[in-house]
């Protein structure tokens, strides 16, 4: 029986394995059909690259435009503004007085002050919340806590600003007994609300992406859940967490509407968080609509735009370098 079966199998073989359904006149692999497919593939490739290049070009051209509008400062505008004016004279931003003063240091200091407050408040909160959700929260709580915080990221900043202006500002003023209702502290707290969801979401993803094997290895060594979270999971997720913080910082430094609404918009050169403050971004937003096109003031505003762009770019670069080195130390390669 067995041999007979084998024989019949062998007889069948040629018919089942050799299928001459390819046109013998065409070289293997380049039938008209596969040529057509190849052409489609090429077309898709070109199309996708084209779209990508277009996007990059648009972003690049925006920067070129901003830079170009600021460029005449290099040889000086007709009303006497030069590339040096943002960095000279008294530390005052008075662009529309009879003798305009364009010193940007109060604006830079204001931006850094508000951003720093927002980061100092927002980062620990966001990271603690992320660690809690990723490592300790029971399944059901985690299921609604993450979407809830992510929803917070979708709140338009003008809504956050309104809340801060109408409610938060009074609370902060009462709690700290501050003279000025709108000040750097209030703006920083409001800004923290805007960056918490960003830092939270990305770092939570980074924490959840840490392989289960690390947790198991740690627990199997007799480490507690908390030790595992703090000493293994968190350090393993550091590259992702660093990226989250950098993104949060980028948002904080560029955020306009919230600071425009609640910072008080006074360009005061001071480290005191209880004083009103004016940021680079809010200055552009507040003054761009009323400035005479082509005037020194106009050029300086574009120069501030360039400055903001450069600050974020340098920051991203530094963060990237830091991240790379960290990755190398943790994982042995980048």
């Amino acid at each position: 029986m067995k041999t007979k079966f084998r024989n019949s199998e062998r007889e069948l073989k040629p018919a089942t394995t050799f299928r001459p359904n390819v046109d013998p006149n065409v070289v293997a692999g380049v039938s008209p059909r596969s040529q057509f497919r190849h052409a489609i593939d090429r077309l898709a490739e070109i199309l996708i690259s084209g779209v990508a290049f277009f996007t990059i070009a648009v972003i690049f051209l925006i920067f070129v435009y901003v830079g170009k509008e600021a460029l005449p400062l290099v040889w000086g505008t007709s009303d006497g503004a030069t590339i040096a004016s943002p960095f000279t004279g008294p530390f005052t931003w008075q662009p529309v007085s009879t003798v305009p003063k364009y010193n940007v240091f109060p604006l830079i200091l204001g931006t850094l002050k508000v951003t720093l407050i927002a980061m100092l408040l927002g980062t620990p909160l966001a990271l603690a919340a992320a660690l809690y959700t990723a490592e300790f929260a029971p399944g059901r709580i985690r299921e609604w806590i993450k979407p809830a915080i992510e929803l917070l990221a979708g709140i338009p900043s003008v809504v956050l600003g309104s809340f801060a202006l109408l409610v938060l500002a009074s609370w902060v003023q009462d709690a700290f007994g501050i003279v000025y209702r709108l000040n750097a502290l209030t703006a920083g707290i409001a800004l923290a609300l805007a960056i918490i969801p960003i830092i939270y979401t990305i770092s939570e993803d980074a924490l959840t992406a840490v392989p289960r094997l690390y947790r198991e290895a740690s627990l199997a060594l007799g480490a507690s859940k908390a030790q595992t979270a703090v000493r293994v999971v968190f350090p393993s997720a550091i590259p992702g967490i660093a990226a989250a913080i950098i993104l949060g910082f980028g948002r904080a430094i560029g955020e306009t509407m919230i600071v425009l609404m609640v910072s008080g918009n006074s360009a005061i050169l001071s480290l005191d968080p209880a004083l009103p403050v004016r940021t680079l971004s809010a200055t552009i937003a507040a003054e761009m609509a009323e400035v005479v096109v082509g005037s020194g003031h106009y050029r300086i505003l574009f120069f501030i735009g360039t400055l903001l762009f450069l600050i974020t770019a340098v920051l991203n670069w530094v963060g990237d370098r830091f991240n790379r080195r960290l990755r190398e130390r943790l994982f042995g390669s980048s």
């Binding site: 690390y214 198991e216 290895a217 199997a220 007799g222």
Partner: protein, 254 residues
């Protein structure tokens, strides 16, 4: 037989929710023996292994009926300190999983979290001693403070063994420790197991029957959640008492 017993499992039924993974498993594991667990995928041998140090506790809905005793102490009693249990019963995983930190910090991790010592000199000693015990010292002594992730797969697995040894366990559970390694690294791990059994009680899950035959003193054959046969390795492989065992070790299925 009257010989000493390290771990006694009696009448263990294990459930993942309503799905029963182990059926009435009883087994006595002797100290300073290598006990191999073999069987086809999904037969419950890993579940059995992970119930010995309560790693299954991490899976929601998992529960064990029956008794697991370590030196006569019920592992699943309320008074059992799981953290202490896991220190006594170390574990090596299928996929080598060093933490993304330096080799030194990997080995020192268990010592640090258990607060065994804080002195740098003592820690250095533990690290060197355990790396030597894991036959890795000569290969990593010059790169102790570089990321463990840059080691080769076999080195990583030996590092994980060193990491487990550093907390001075009594029992080592190995879940297919060499299944992802090349033959040379596998041979090194097997040699290591041979050396380690003088000090530790080792239980190893393996898919590789030659490996079980080479390294173990006793072997248990699992099938569909039941312990079909448990015997001296030599006897089990040369004269299996059970038909299913014979079919499996001769390669008729699995």
């Amino acid at each position: 037989m009257g010989s000493p017993v390290k771990i006694t499992v009696s009448g263990a039924n294990f459930f993942y929710g309503s799905n029963q993974a182990l059926h009435d498993v009883s087994m006595e594991i002797r100290p300073q023996f290598v006990t191999a667990l073999i069987g086809p995928s999904g037969c419950g041998k890993s579940t059995f292994l992970r119930s010995l140090n309560r790693m299954n506790d991490l899976i929601p809905g998992a529960r064990l009926e029956g008794k697991v005793e370590l030196d006569g102490e019920n592992v699943y009693s309320d008074s059992m300190d799981v953290i202490h249990l896991r220190r006594r019963v170390g574990m090596i995983f299928q996929k080598s999983n060093p933490f993304p930190m330096s080799s030194y910090d990997n080995v020192a991790y268990g010592v640090r979290v258990n607060g065994l010592t804080k002195k740098r000199i003592e820690l250095d000693e533990v690290v060197e001693k355990t790396l030597r015990a894991a036959a890795l010292w000569d290969e990593v002594k010059d790169r102790l403070h570089r990321s463990a992730m840059s080691l080769s797969g076999g080195q990583q697995q030996r590092l994980c063994i060193a990491r487990a040894l550093a907390v001075e366990p009594e029992v080592l559970l190995m879940d297919e420790p060499a299944s992802a390694l090349d033959p040379i690294s596998t041979a090194k791990i097997e040699e290591l197991i041979y050396d380690l059994k003088r000090t530790y009680t080792i239980i190893i899950v393996t898919h590789n029957m030659q490996q079980a035959a080479r390294v173990s003193d006793e072997t248990g054959f699992f099938l569909s959640g039941r312990l079909v046969e448990f015997n001296e390795t030599k006897k089990l492989f040369t004269a299996p008492r059970n038909r299913e065992t014979e079919d499996y070790i001769t390669g008729r299925f699995g």
